[in-house]
Amino acid sequence: MKTIVLLFVIAGAAGCGRYAVRADEKEYLADRIMQPDYDEMELANDQHVLSNREGAQGGYGAAGGGCGCN
């Protein structure tokens, strides 16, 4: 798990601090299928159901993170 997080941070940092992707390159990113939080109510319902069955909860971060699209 630590390795996955580390890889994630490195990959994320590589895209940080510059215009990794220009606005005119975001055609696919703007599609709803590229936005994991598009259906926020479904996500909230899922968390509600699963956190009442499982010992673990959280990790979903602060709701309403960005999608990177314009």
């Binding site: 994630f8 909860q57 971060g61 309403g64 990177g68």
Partner: protein, 404 residues
């Protein structure tokens, strides 16, 4: 001062171009664990409305309910785990109101939620802030919430844990009835997320939450059998700290008009539970108006430090509590579960022929079905009769969202 005013003016001018969306959304969800002896049914309707009161200011309101009926064993012990279920029913209502202010690339939001049921009251406030950076390739968000909750319980003040009596019913709760009290529970939740565009077809996010629960966390109705004959109200620690970290990646597969989603989550808390979650999903446009999603999820957790299984040699019945703690909560036992689900959405956008139903920019009608198989990792965990067969739980959801 003048400089500050100028900065504020610039921010407000930039905010005028940023606009949220007006939306109303309705969902009806049904969750069931269809076991013969301990069936559980939850009907969960929800409605949410988001409106722009101003180009840089929006309001949101929501309501949801849980209508719960079912049966469960009130006492956790070797004999009770497979017999004597007691019927119960309750309804929870929750109302939410919030606001968001957008200032250029940044936004702040705040909200309040009030929820109540026969034996539980909750007031919660939440605040958050978000900023889009570097051409919206990077988004950071921070959030905080605090719950002021109360749980109805029998007045057990002064009693030792093994002498505590359980609540018989919710009758008289929050009405000042003699012999009943309201146990406080405070919950502080801190959250952060970082969304990062990695390429024109890959987006990622990393999220973390830290939560502190301070107060009464036991189920007031649940009893545990100790030393063979004693039955006492479940006794769980008053303090619990939880940490969860989640990473997600999403890849657009352009030729297939689809997207692959990958999720990994690690969880740890001070009650000793460690858990991992992995999820794979595939979303596919079958038609310009028809979207399919299939997903598979795997979850596994270890046991709480003070959990003793009724089917093991070192059970509460044979050797008693762990310190002063004992529980009959299945969520604290070790288990794994598998989820397989499918979702179909019919999406209709306004086009050259006009708006959808004359008013809306988009209509989204969707249905989903999730099946869950639960696999205990000890011989006789709580609610064991619910774990028979291949499908132990089912989630069906019908939703409609209208945007204008």
């Amino acid at each position: 001062m003048r400089r500050l005013a100028r900065i504020l003016m610039l921010l407000l001018a930039a905010a005028a171009v940023a606009r949220a969306e007006d939306k109303v959304e309705v969902k009806a969800e049904y969750f069931t664990e269809p076991a013969n002896k301990e069936a559980l049914h939850v009907f969960h309707p929800a409605v949410g409305v988001n409106v722009d009161a101003h180009p840089n200011f929006s309001l949101n309101f929501g309501y949801e309910a849980d209508v719960v009926t079912g049966a469960t064993a009130r006492t956790y012990g070797a004999m009770d785990a497979i017999s004597s279920a007691t019927k119960f029913s309750d309804t929870r209502h929750a109302f939410h109101g919030g606001a968001e202010l957008r200032l250029g690339p940044a936004a702040v939001d705040a909200g309040y939620t009030y929820a109540f049921e026969n034996d539980y009251r909750s007031h919660a406030i939440d605040v958050g802030a978000k900023v889009d950076l570097w051409g919206k390739n990077t988004t950071f968000r921070l959030g905080y919430s605090h719950n002021f909750d109360s749980v109805c319980d029998v007045d057990n003040k002064g009693a030792a844990p093994t002498e505590r009596r359980s609540l018989g019913s919710s009758q008289g709760c929050f009405k000042g009835m003699v012999g009943l009290i309201e146990e406080p529970l405070a919950i502080d939740s801190y959250a952060m997320s970082w969304t990062q565009v990695l390429s024109p077809i890959i987006v990622s996010d990393l999220s973390a939450t830290f939560q502190v629960l301070d107060g009464f966390q036991s189920n007031p109705y649940r009893r545990v059998r100790l030393f063979g004959t004693v039955e006492a109200q479940e006794s769980e620690p008053l303090l619990r700290q939880r940490v969860a970290v989640q990473a997600r990646l999403r890849f657009a597969i352009v030729r297939a008009r689809g997207a692959l989603g990958v999720l990994g989550r690690f969880y740890y808390d001070t009650w000793g539970i460690k858990a991992g979650t992995a999820e794979l999903s595939w979303e596919q446009w079958l038609h310009p108006q028809l979207l399919l999603r299939v997903r598979g999820r795997y979850y596994q957790q270890g046991r709480a430090l003070f959990y003793r299984d009724a089917g093991e040699t070192l059970s509460y019945e044979s050797v008693g509590p762990v310190g002063q703690y004992f529980t009959g909560d299945r969520e604290l036992s070790p288990f794994r579960d598998y989820l397989a689900g499918v979702k179909l959405a019919w999406v209709r956008n306004a086009d050259e022929h006009g708006k959808v139903l004359r008013w809306f920019e988009q209509m989204d009608l969707n249905f989903k079905l999730d099946l869950i198989d639960y696999q205990p990792m000890t011989p006789l965990p709580p609610n064991q009769p619910r774990d028979v067969g291949l499908v132990n739980a089912l989630i069906a959801e019908l939703g409609l969202a209208l945007r204008w």
